[in-house]
Symmetry: C2
DNA sequence: GCGCGGGCTCAACACACTGTTGACCGAGCC
DNA sequence: GGCTCGGTCAACAGTGTGTTGAGCCCGCGC
């Protein structure tokens, strides 16, 4: 589900993504294990360090030393510090993608339960990779690859939500209202910001135990709000 | 209601804010005008450059040259690049604060018009200082002062909104539901993220002309949603 | 068993940027 | 006239990034 290199499935981005990897087609499979091990060691080091300080406080040297190699050697495996995070993020995103799709797919009798399952899956995944999530949120501003990856998955989620909203409207369960896509966009952005706030804990934030309930409440009222309530357009 | 700094003027934070300015009490008022002029020149240069590239792409040297001074001289006026942005942000925030407070204060007959005016004021202010807004969003992650400033104003806005929601509930216009504070938090975060998306334009985003309508719709349905709609708690 | 090629490694370098030091200039004040 | 003090900058020290070039080591063909 989330092994990173099948070059297919949810995450075909990685190869194309990072700004010109040095070793385009490396083909490293020469019985010497150290190559993959070191790559994995770098990734593991990154995740470990990220848990204790923000990405900006971690240098390439830290990553290299943590993985037991020198700085130039690091550059053999990754084109930059950012590329490491991109790989990590890619895995998390693929996991969230799979989890929320699964929750979405097995729509229960009550469609509203489906929304809950989806929000829950999404939230649980990012919570369980909190450090990567927070670092990615930070890096989004300065790194075009991260931005692009995030834009792509957001687009997928928005499209799926818009679709689901329209289905609910067609079957008469939800009233007409805002364009489904606009609604889907803002609800997704809502989740993004609220979960970020809860996980990072700075500024006013919703408690971790309540966050799914609160989000769900807003989603449901935005989607199913009876036509009686004025839109004020 | 939500003016944050009774301590004179709109922007009394600046002195206290930045991490230990070198010139604690400068008292520069010696008939030589250049001092203030230069400070203003730095600020103006920053805003100009920010319009064309992100903060991370601007060096202290760029700022100094733009203001016609050398790099060390820059440090006489500001303790760092970040401090410049903090000053800029502080002004924008004070403006947003004043505008939304004003909109809130002159509550019209229809309370819902009050919400619209508030969202509109908030949105218009940040739109008219787009570059500062976007830079601040970026810097929030790496700079504790910016984070603190933002947390403070968010707290004010959240408190004011929670207050208003409770007032609506008391007078029977809005049904009971989520804790007012939680609702206020997520609605504020919603605005923050959605406006950011619209102004920055990356990822799926709501069109600039529609954004206030869309936000308002979500706010109103979350606040006024008739009790009939299930909360699912 | 030997050399040869390529995956892999690192010391050393070139560069960009940050923040600081110390000397200096000129204007007003006594 | 000397003295202080706001203001200014050349030069330095430090920390980070990404690159280069020489070289190691291991498997493989001969």
């Amino acid at each position: 589900m989330l092994s990173p290199r099948p070059a297919a499935g949810t995450l075909a981005i990685v190869p194309a993504s990072s700004t010109a990897r040095p070793r385009a087609a490396r083909g490293r499979r020469t019985a010497r294990p150290s190559g993959d091990d070191r790559e994995a060691a770098i990734l593991a080091t990154a995740e470990r360090l990220l848990a204790e300080r923000p990405l900006s406080g971690i240098s390439v040297d830290d990553l290299a030393r943590g993985a037991g190699i020198s700085r130039p050697t690091f550059y053999f495996y990754f084109s930059s510090k950012d590329a490491v995070l991109l790989t990590l993020l890619d895995r998390v995103v693929a996991e969230a993608d799979a989890a929320s799709a699964a929750a979405f797919a097995r729509r229960p009798a009550d469609a509203r339960q489906g929304w809950r399952a989806m929000i829950d899956a999404y939230s649980a995944t990012f919570r369980s990779h909190r450090s990567v999530t927070l670092a990615a949120a930070e890096l989004r501003f300065s790194n075009a690859d991260v931005r692009a990856l995030w834009a792509r998955v957001s687009e997928d989620w928005v499209a799926a939500c818009a679709e689901a909203i329209e289905a609910e409207r067609r079957r008469g369960a939800a009233p007409p209202g805002l364009p489904a896509r606009d609604l889907a966009i803002v609800l997704n952005q809502l989740n993004e910001r609220v979960l970020y706030g809860t996980f990072s804990g700075d500024g006013p934030a919703v408690a971790e135990d309540d966050v799914v309930d609160v989000l769900l409440d807003v989603w449901l009222s935005a989607i199913y709000r009876p036509a009686g309530a004025p839109t004020d357009r």
